[in-house]
Symmetry: C2
Subunit: 705 residues, 2 copies
């Protein structure tokens, strides 16, 4: 095998985000600003000042700011030049240790300095049923942080600093609107605060470390840089709390007009920050519980890093809105900001069902009521036929809900990227719905959606063939929405044809198999015996049809059952994650009803999990397809889970060792420049799409291994 050496130093952004605010406080890249960002497609661009000063020594600062081009010059008429920071020692990665927990991110130095940002998460009840107090606790749009110095052995006072400089804006002292807060805010939208005290100094200046102009209270509120400076006396160890908050008032979405849910429970930013400081113990406790849980998990350090970084970026894309009909759950698609992209919803289901299953139901309902449509399919002779129910790829983009039955992504007359994903989303509704109902036991909801489930089964069969006698289980018909010239694609839109084309696609066929298995379970749960039997028959038929595609000569499956395709793909086994997840043992039993197919898939995997095929020849990382160097981390994580659980014998040593490679991708600037990234060049580890991305939480599956 070949694999990249572990690259040092680690150098990556992490999104520190509350649940449901579509907002992050992002820092971590060496030499790069970050800070508060709402609804952005990447980190913000604020100077973040974090550091300490022992006595009169220079400030020792974490490297998260750039020397600001002093706005002083704009007033004094002098030439504006970026001023090199004076009185500063910039800490490099050799000077500090960074520890990313599941719900924390902590920098410590041997000098006994520590700074930590917490983004706790955990089980959250249905927001429609929560008390006001519980809703405030769950959805406060803030994260807690703290800054500390152990000066017990020190002989001089130590000063600690936390500050923000916004290059295009000017912050305001929070004391003007909230005497109980020491800190600064940008308008009504974001800010940071601690509790006032004699050991807390507020600063606002052109150069926050070298004060030059001070007004009656020591500030200069026309200046762009702000900070809180804390004093730790000699002989003492002190930790100071911080709250970093967001607030967007009023309607933020169009199409469906909705505001942030938190605006129901909080008056303004000041309310949020005060709440965050007052209740910090509970948030710290929750973060510690998550951190401990991950630390104790039977995962290696690379896996733990990936689980932790993924959760951070997921939270940053999460958004709980409230419209005329109540709560609206949205996960925004990272840099693309598409809303509830169904391809992501189905992958987030494992994370969301663990912590807030109502979110899954909420998205399923909106897909069923607003983003479902009645499709037609294209026949070989150019005519169209009824296709049955279908669902859109997404619900909109950038806070605009698209019109009913329409996505923001899908275009007509295409064969590749931006075409329709009709079969994919049909399967996604089935899989997501049954996972939700089975995991939560919410059979009442399943019953309510019985007609939808039945329509889905019918639509799946029609896409195989309108004539029941000519069905074999494989998708052979594209949605008429593609137009005469177009063809459906799969979620793997940016890969080559191996995963791009929907018809006769190995990945999509096995995923359909998973959907039939879940439909059988759902119909049985609903006591629809005949439909359960029929679903079982469809599954068996499909499994048999897929098995016939195995090539004895290559001991593997082609990615597409057409045109002599010779690509090899790992997502061949993706569809088995659903029966595995729900514990439907007769579907995953190697001696059971799909035993033959599972055996073939194991041989397929054993053959392709080799360097130069589906392990990158340069890096050793997992490649979705043998014929594309564009690989997707969230899908690697999902496939790893399925392979380790169902096909452990197919795991080569090289394949097993790749966690280090995948973690290094994310820990280095190639991906780390945009926090968690999903689409990655498997040879270089550099992202090529899906930046600042929520879907890495498929790693939650690893905790079930």
């Amino acid at each position: 095998m070949s694999s990249l050496p572990v690259s040092r130093p680690e150098n990556y952004y992490t999104q520190h985000a509350p649940l449901g605010a579509f907002a992050s406080f992002s820092i971590g890249m060496i030499g790069r600003p970050g800070g508060f960002g709402h609804a952005l497609r990447g980190p913000a661009n604020q100077n973040v000042y974090v550091g300490y000063q022992v006595g009169g020594a220079p400030w020792a600062m974490l490297p998260f700011f750039k020397p600001p081009q002093s706005n002083e010059a704009a007033f004094t008429g002098e030439a504006a030049t970026a001023q090199a920071p004076t009185n500063i020692t910039l800490l490099g990665p050799a000077d500090y240790t960074r520890t990313l927990g599941w719900a924390s991110d902590t920098w410590t130095t041997p000098a006994k300095f520590a700074f930590s940002i917490l983004s706790p998460f955990g089980e959250v009840g249905d927001p429609q049923k929560l008390s006001r107090a519980a809703a405030r606790q769950a959805f406060s749009p803030h994260v807690n942080a703290w800054i500390e110095f152990d000066n017990t052995a020190g002989r001089e006072p130590v000063r600690l600093i936390f500050g923000i400089g916004e290059p295009d804006g000017i912050l305001r002292p929070l004391e003007d609107t909230a005497p109980g807060l020491a800190g600064f805010a940008h308008g009504t939208q974001w800010g940071y605060a601690t509790l006032p005290g004699r050991d807390v100094e507020k600063r606002q200046a052109f150069d926050i470390l070298n004060l030059k102009f001070r007004d009656y209270r020591g500030l200069h509120v026309i200046a762009g840089e702000t900070a809180l400076v804390f004093t730790v006396p000699a002989g003492k160890k002190k930790r100071f709390p911080l709250a970093l908050g967001f607030f967007e008032s009023g309607p933020v979405t169009t199409g469906i007009r909705a505001s942030y849910a938190y605006t129901r429970w909080f008056d303004d930013l000041e309310d949020v920050l005060a709440h965050g400081l007052k209740n910090r113990a509970a948030y710290e406790k929750l973060a510690a519980a998550r951190d401990r849980e991950l630390a104790r998990a039977k995962l290696d350090d690379d896996q733990k890093f990936l689980v932790a970084q993924a959760a951070h970026s997921y939270l940053g894309s999460s958004q709980l809105l409230w419209g005329a009909k109540g709560p609206l759950w949205v996960v925004n698609e990272g840099e693309y900001r598409m809303m509830n992209t169904f391809d992501l919803t189905v992958d987030h289901v494992f994370f969301e069902l663990r912590y807030f299953p109502w979110a899954v139901r909420n998205a399923l309902e909106l897909f069923a009521t607003r983003y479902a449509y009645t499709d037609r399919i294209k026949l070989a002779d150019g005519r169209t036929a009824p296709g049955g129910i279908a669902f859109t790829h997404d619900m909109g983009v950038n806070n605009q809900f698209t019109p009913a039955g329409r996505s923001s992504y899908e275009c007509d007359h295409l064969h590749g990227c931006f075409s329709h994903m009709t079969m994919e989303q049909l399967l996604n509704w089935v899989l997501t719905a049954v996972c939700y109902a089975e995991k939560t036991g919410d059979t009442a909801w399943l019953r309510k959606r019985k007609a939808t489930l039945l329509a889905c089964a019918e639509s799946m069969r029609r896409r195989d063939h309108p004539d029941p006698k000519r069905r074999d289980g494989l998708l052979k018909h594209d949605s008429a929405r593609c137009g005469p010239e177009g063809a459906e694609i799969t979620t793997y839109d940016s890969l080559d044809v191996s995963l791009g084309q929907a018809r006769n696609n190995l990945y999509l066929s096995v995923k359909a198999l998973g959907a039939w298995v879940l439909l059988e379970r759902a119909f049985a749960r609903l006591k629809l015996a005949r439909e359960a039997v029929a679903a079982r028959a469809s599954a068996d038929q499909l499994a048999a049809a897929v098995a016939t595609k195995f090539e004895p000569e290559t001991q593997s499956f082609p990615a597409v059952f057409e045109k002599g395709n010779r690509s090899r793909i790992i997502p061949a086994v993706e569809g088995f994650v659903y029966p595995l997840y729900l514990g439907i043992q007769d579907a995953t039993d190697r001696q059971g009803r799909f035993g033959k197919l599972l055996g073939l898939l194991e041989r397929h995997l054993a053959g392709i999990m080799q360097p130069g095929v589906c392990l990158d020849a340069t890096s050793g990382g997992w490649k979705m397809s043998s014929t594309s160097t564009n690989t997707w981390f969230s899908k690697i994580a999902l496939a790893q889970h399925v392979v380790r659980r169902l096909f452990p014998a197919a795991l080569s040593d090289a394949a097993r060792a790749a966690d280090r490679v995948h973690a290094d991708w994310q820990r280095q600037p190639g991906c780390g420049e945009f926090a968690m990234c999903d689409q990655i060049h498997s040879d270089t580890g550099v992202t090529c799409g899906s930046r600042y991305y929520p879907r890495g939480v498929t790693t939650i599956l690893w905790l079930d291994e």
Copy 2:
């Protein structure tokens, strides 16, 4: 004399702005984006697509966009590269004529293409008394535009395009929320629209001129570039209307919590855009009236350009808010975004009293109620004494109203920039208040503020000397807020000591003289005979004291009556603008009570209005001070008015010719990169502060010459 040759091409941004929305649509710089900006300190960064296509020829486009780094690559996983526009001929300044009117900005080409943006303004009544319909008409946060092609002689259809691409955001089709509008919006905050029609096509794509992906309605709503494309058939001339709108809902300020006044009269952006299109005839008529008025004015073309460009930037900084106590008028200070900087209020008074005098009263009231304070002054022996009423430099910054009695700008313990401007603001309240009352005849208000006026007179005298017997009229005492180490400055904060120091300052002394003249008038109006007499006596005393500072050997006044200062300044005469403006003839009569001083000032001016003194040796532009190359255009304009009206004999040919220089400064990138700029290096014409600045409307005074 020396003067810059007229530089071509003209190359400058202009702010196209409605009244009171603190928002501009800025374009005009060659090769630079612009577009919609709210509360910014410079032009926005959107691609603005304006052009035409004859038949199948390449698009001929105005140069207001950069080739977007196609976001397509982020989806397809390919390397993102800025794509050179294809199918485009970029028009250069040789290809079009740009005509800036007082309320319009129009580009025409010999090919019979024309594009125009209108920003009409005119008399507006008190917003508290306006009908809803009148308020909507006056304060709709939009500007109208139109695009036209004369294809009467053409044999092929012509297409016209107007479009916007926002690099960090994604627009949405307006038809989803307003079927009566064809256009696009960025969230709920800004957008553009025309009326739907068969000759109007909507486009949204990664590359707006070369469509590649189209959804069911021909758009691709995940893409960042949008446009409207209009068709002009062969043989026809057609003009299509556009509305460019802004909308910020909810409270936008802190300190005093207030929302935009327009949110009282408009529901949302769609309402604004529909209103703008429906009522375009009235707006076009008003713009045409303003344009005609300026065109007919007895000014040269350079002056007309300066008057026009100034009005555009003024409107962009104007802001009408509504708080718990009613309307709040704010003019933001350009790039600094300080709110109602009093130094600007006093200079805007000539423009505002012409069109919306209630705005002046509104600001005066807030200064009198919230931003006045009782000051103490510093004595020579280190003690302090009562100083009387004083006013802050400003009311806050960047939408935060500072606490009562405190500005955002003023700091303590300083001698230069950022020190207190106490005497300056005291005079500003007097001058602004009396100008308002005299011009409007609102003696009722003057009566209401009688105590404030009396307190101002008392404060002015105390700052001369606490002991009445030792007064000579000159300011000799600094505010105690400066601290033991500090000293008051004047509004000319970034110049050298010639205009920086307040004590014994020639400029401030003559300005104080103007204030005494106006106080005499106001007290007479209020039938306070004794106080009128006393004000007159103070004026006479001050005039006599100033006259003693004339240096016979140099035939001029020193800028500061201290320490052998030898700087020469043009603002020596600034204070006479107020009696001149109000027609107080006995104060401006060369044979009258100030005849001696006026005579000395004329000799002063005649001596300094020479190259190398107060005309820049390189450029020929007017310099505020002989010892600083930082000059301020708004103050030049004001001084020009006073000199031309009161001291025409002092005008050298070189001084008279400088309009061309001053206009070229603003027409070239050195200033034009930020629309109207105020602080300018007199040798290079490059701005050194006060960018995107409202104060150029002192040019309105020229219309009275």
